[in-house]
């Protein structure tokens, strides 16, 4: 059965520790007089970094995903949000986060640590509502940066400056609500860190083009999560460098994530976090999920290389650009973020279909599994058009229904049944069953 050698990823443990430390740091920030803020995993987090070296964030979506792994606590949160009158079809992470505030319990122990301010990026319809309600309940000041200026391919200076100006405005606001002086050097450093982290993460994903794949999607979740927590921190960028080197070494030595790799699939949108075993189930068929536009493009920043292939975006530092002023840094930083692959489909599903087709081609993917995620409107918008677009290109594709953060909407038996049918269309037989 096993065709390839495999071994545990060495930096996996470190990633786990960094993640745990992050949540503890946030909870304990006040003990040392630090600053706490909360916002999205795609908030422009290099900006608050300019407030000092003791600034700690809590990003809402990863927090929701972390809660989703704790069935009992998750339900408590979801029920609390529902009792407050919020519909079940709203963003599952958002409901979890609200519920956590309403019951005043933090997943990692103690009461919910109230942030000094909420700092959010608005692209989907829920991101502003999320922190509006949170701010109302917590009585916390809130600031939003509207980044919905259309797809990156159509970006012009006016659009870029709209976002940049809001970023610059947020600095004065933060100074006012925290009483701290903003440090441009710290900010510029954080911008560089973020560019480094997100470009490196794209590079790590690129290494998964190798056969056998050195990483499977389930493992990638434990790695990419660090960027969703704190992409502008030095520890995050440094970790990705270490991780990149290890994955490179795995490729060189032919180490596989799934030793019986016979077929490569990709998924889409967040997985149903309570049911990651669906990836183990794929392995029973020798199918490895090499990633998704979600794992690649939520925190990875990409560009099309001269040879037409997809690879990590070249950072301004690599281009030899000297970043010296707040204004220059902000503009480069906004431009960088606006090129995020996972923001493009908000305007047109064809952009996402094309990116997925690129992944299929370059990563040697045999079939695509689309998660009709009832928990996230933003990432499942246009998903049926993606299905049509992929199928029209002759790419085998299946859909399954679920919810990233509300397991009541996922049906394991039915999903496995769908996977069975899909594997049959890919001419794969189940080889073994996990205990």
């Amino acid at each position: 059965m096993a065709k390839y050698p495999t071994e545990q990823l060495k930096c996996w443990k470190k990633a786990k520790e960094l993640r745990e430390q992050y949540y503890i740091n946030y909870a304990q920030a006040k003990d040392k007089g630090g600053i706490r803020w909360s916002g999205s995993a795609w908030a422009l987090d290099a900006i608050p970094a300019g407030l000092g070296k003791d600034v700690y964030s809590l990003t809402g979506e990863p927090y929701g995903a972390a809660v989703a792994l704790d069935k009992k606590f998750n339900k408590e949160c979801q029920d609390a949000a529902e009792s407050a009158g919020f519909a079940r079809d709203l963003c599952a992470y958002m409901r979890t986060y609200w519920g956590s505030i309403h019951i005043d319990k933090y997943l990692f122990g103690g009461p919910f640590p109230k942030p000094d301010f909420n700092f959010q990026t608005q692209i989907c319809c829920s991101h502003a509502k999320w922190y509006q309600h949170a701010s109302m309940v917590e009585k916390t000041p809130d600031f939003y940066i509207d980044v919905s200026v259309g797809p990156y391919k159509d970006l012009d200076d006016d659009r870029l400056m709209y976002v940049t100006n809001q970023g610059l405005e947020s600095i004065g606001w933060m100074e006012k609500v925290t009483g701290r002086k903003f440090d441009d050097e710290l900010f510029i450093e954080a911008v560089k860190n973020e560019m480094r982290s997100t470009s490196l993460w794209a590079e790590i994903c690129t290494l998964n083009k190798a056969k056998p794949a050195p990483l499977d999607e389930k493992t990638m979740y434990s790695l990419y999560v660090l960027a969703t927590l704190s992409k502008s921190s030095k520890w995050c960028a440094d970790f990705y460098e270490e991780c990149r080197d290890e994955v490179k070494d795995r490729v060189a030595r032919g180490i596989a994530a799934v030793p019986n790799e016979r077929c490569r699939v990709m998924s889409d949108t967040q997985p149903p976090w309570g049911f990651l075993k669906i990836f183990r189930y794929l392995e029973e068929y020798g199918a490895v999920s090499i990633g998704s536009l979600y794992t690649f493009g939520l925190e990875g920043i990409w560009e099309t290389k001269p040879d037409g292939s997809w690879g990590p975006r070249t950072t301004p530092m690599q281009q030899g650009i000297d970043i010296t002023t707040r204004e220059q840094a902000m503009k480069l930083y906004c431009d960088w973020n606006l090129s995020k692959p996972q923001w493009q489909h908000f305007y047109d599903p064809r952009l996402k279909t094309e990116m997925m087709k690129t992944i299929v081609k370059e990563w040697g993917v045999n079939g695509v599994m689309l998660h009709l995620n009832r928990g996230c409107e933003g990432l499942s918008i246009g998903i049926m058009e993606n299905r049509l677009g992929l199928a029209a290109s002759g790419i085998p594709v299946m859909t399954f229904e679920g919810n990233m953060g509300d397991e009541r909407e996922f049906d394991l038996g039915r999903t496995q049944n769908r996977v069975d049918s899909f594997m049959e269309t890919l001419a794969l037989k189940r080889e073994f069953a996990h205990a």
């Binding site: 407050a84 009158g85 919020f86 519909a87 079809d89 709203l90 963003c91 608005q122 989907c124 319809c125 829920s126 502003a128 509502k129 999320w130 509006q132 309600h133 701010s135 109302m136 809130d142 600031f143 939003y144 940066i145 509207d146 919905s148 200026v149 259309g150 006016d158 659009r159 709209y162 100006n165 809001q166 405005e169 908000f346 305007y347 047109d348 599903p349 064809r350 009709l372 009832r374 409107e377 933003g378 499942s380 918008i381 246009g382 998903i383 049926m384 058009e385 299905r387 049509l388």
Partner: protein
Amino acid sequence: MSGLFDQFKEWYEKRHDYAKAWKARTGGQVVATMCTYTPEELLIAANMLPVRVLGAHEPQNVTEPHIFGMFCPFCRDSLAQGLLGRYDYCDGVTLTQSCIQYRQTFNSWREHVPTVKWDYYLPMPNEVQSRFAKTQHYSEVKKFRTFMEGVVGKAISDTELKQATEVVNENRRLLRELFEYRKETNPRVTGVDALYASITAQFVDKAEHNKELKRVLAELPKQPQNRQEGIRFMTIGSENDDVSFMAMVESVGSTIVIDDQCSGTRYFWNEARVQDDPIATIADRYCERPACPTKDYPAHTRFDHVLMLAKDYNAKAAVFLQQKFCDPHEGDYPDLKRHLEANGIPTLFLEFDITNPLGPFRIRIEAFLETLGEEELF
């Protein structure tokens, strides 16, 4: 009842016939629009007829391949109408950025409705409260103007823009005048009448619509005020043109006196403040209008606006008409409900789908009315 609003009713019921006839008569282009943030002034200045796409409230099976079922029924119904060829007379389709759900309708429409010749996505800022929003929207409206000039093959002059703005402003003014009558005790204008008037403004030639509004406004003072108003309701939500629902509500002991909906007041509430630069006039107007929840942050400006409407129109209770799966409204609902109830306006929540079961809705409305009255039973 015969009457005063029959022309609006006819336009509503035969909207496709109307648009086709308009096209044949004028030779102008018809544009499918998808959100009330669309700067119609620009389309009118280009001698086009903006037609807002509405659903048909019929079961359909054509959108399943395009939109996943957990998205808002209005968006799915709107797409269905395109896929079924009901808007085959529309030359172009345009969407001004609001909620992400609407974008699916627009994207699938521009890709799969074969009669579409051109399409334009206008990425209007969402954070209209930002002090940079108007500058940014100014830039976007300007780009739209340039695009439209390409479509019609000639320049759209400032004078044409100013004239178009005046026509649209007049329409807004007249609708406000009409809605003033709803403040009366035993109002002469019912919720159904008002809906016909405001929804048709979204697809009938504005000059023609203005003429009809003026005629109705001239007749209204002569109408008797003999309707028993019952409980005065306000409706809150996104798009609603379910006339049979509205008629049912008004048949069981209530009158709908005002709304905060994009099929109603949000569409026409504020006039554009005329400035020297016609583009600035237009861009600012849409940033200043009563916000859809999608664009209402950091401050919830809607909450006090809705309350003000309820007070001004003496609404005794509010009914939320929630499009199922509409996240922006679902996100506002609990806090808005609390805000209204804290200020003495009880609320009822109803969830709307493409087609609505009138029977179960009637039970809820009647039960709600019973909580507001029926003292003789106790």
